[in-house]
Subunit: 333 residues, 2 copies
Amino acid sequence: MIQTPYLLFLGDAPDALSAKVAQGIKDWRPENCVGQFRMDGCKADMKLTDMTLAEAKAAGAKTLVVGVANRGGKISPAWKKVLVNALEEGFDLASGLHNLLRNEPDLAAVAAATGRALHDVRVPEVDYPIADGVKRRGKRVLAVGTDCSVGKMYTALALDAAMRERGMKSTFRATGQTGILITGDGVPLDAVVADFMAGAVEWLTPDNDDDHWDIIEGQGSLFHVSFSGVTMALVHGGQPDALILSHEPTRTHMRGLPGYALPSLEVLRDTALGLARVANPACQVVGISVNTQHMGAAEAEAYLAEIEAQMGLPTVDPFRQGAGRLAEALAAV
Amino acid sequence: MIQTPYLLFLGDAPDALSAKVAQGIKDWRPENCVGQFRMDGCKADMKLTDMTLAEAKAAGAKTLVVGVANRGGKISPAWKKVLVNALEEGFDLASGLHNLLRNEPDLAAVAAATGRALHDVRVPEVDYPIADGVKRRGKRVLAVGTDCSVGKMYTALALDAAMRERGMKSTFRATGQTGILITGDGVPLDAVVADFMAGAVEWLTPDNDDDHWDIIEGQGSLFHVSFSGVTMALVHGGQPDALILSHEPTRTHMRGLPGYALPSLEVLRDTALGLARVANPACQVVGISVNTQHMGAAEAEAYLAEIEAQMGLPTVDPFRQGAGRLAEALAAV
């Protein structure tokens, strides 16, 4: 569990895209952000107050979150002075980069000397149990995709926001590094050892109030041969009461797999539902989220209407329209 | 890769069952066994020549394999003198026990000093790639079960034996610790990090002759919520051309999961085939293996005939009948 609130470290970000983790935190959990720290030449801006470490500390920030990735997703030597100073000023550090804070000798030594925590959110920090399959109280929803990277995390966060607006009880349950940094907690599922994947998902989504929804961040796709085992663990460990089908209609083949066609939404629905009902016989498909970012507004609107008619399910692009209709579909479960 | 042949270490095995790993090696790869090493009081016997370390070394043994598990599956302090001596005599050590050879300070120190290898087959020794889904040459068969522990490894080894008898080209591809110790090679799939599971299976079953069969050891079950993700990685990473359905008909619920019923063979067939065809559209179900160990001979015979008629597929208990009919079914693919 990462201590909030955060000071967002944007470093020497060469452009806005390289700070997309920081953007995600700012967009979805602005209450977790005290301010931003930018180095000379930084081209990203979260429109937060620029702060020194001392100012952020005085304002209550607990953790400096690396919200930027340089080429290669590595910790940059240029950032080290700030990161070391942050530890000395009493901040914990959190990062989702490929190389680990804990494996940097200077950071590890200063963290040990100052008693601060280094959170590498790509790496599990918990010994997860083996799944026991026992039915848990409360409700759970999971987005499953026709492919990887079709907008499942965005859908989950938008759904969480829409449910909160409506006064519904919901918790976004992060299963990837960006989601974990956004919320400060979660399971880096793709880094969990195989035998414990489903158990990690059970651990992440424990018993809760009967009217509470866990919104479980999806990963991979049942139809993506590289990562389908991770998706399966979400479907069975998550015991979802509701599934949302996620799709990106302009993709010509599965991401990174030339020659693999995407499944139809019907095939995804039937496959995911059959598997989900092993763990939860009451599971149902409640809606569809479509990522229409590569379509014009009119084309997107027509496509959404077509899918809604074809599938008989509320169909939205959460980025264009919000996830209100999906929240309403869950309220009716 | 573990160097063969082996000296099988039976230690102070309290009974035959505690030496079942050694028994598996002796039964399936007798050519890998130079002899056995028994301590005072050992109650297990593989009917191999009892040898001292020096005798086994002179006979060509390269690795001392821990073929015994005491209560708890741990390395026993009582074995240490033999294990240390074996390293000093020039043997590598191999074990599938829960605690690791490499984590025993005495064994680690002597192995380092003597330049010998410690193989803990529960732990991956390779950095596996992420699966790329590219179609590989050669053929592959995978057993998928209605549940865990229904005889998938036994089926695979019996099939390998039957295919060799017929002069077919086949390789048993181990995915669990017992299978790895039997053959000296494989992937401990349940210990692989989630993102790399399918890639590990691709790595294990590379391009091969067009008429060569990899017989991939199955794990878990698509219907066992604790381990289904591992099974999914086998189905997608393995790109099987053929599936064998494995079943144990007396089980009243999924292993370790009270309240979870086993799927029917029809549901297993349809689910597994649908998923397998994502990676290999030509995949077919070629036969059924039934573990009838809890049935009498007549009951078993009647049950096998009933399932064969019901499913329209060759149905055998490989323990009672061998896997010849399954090998013939593969030859016809």
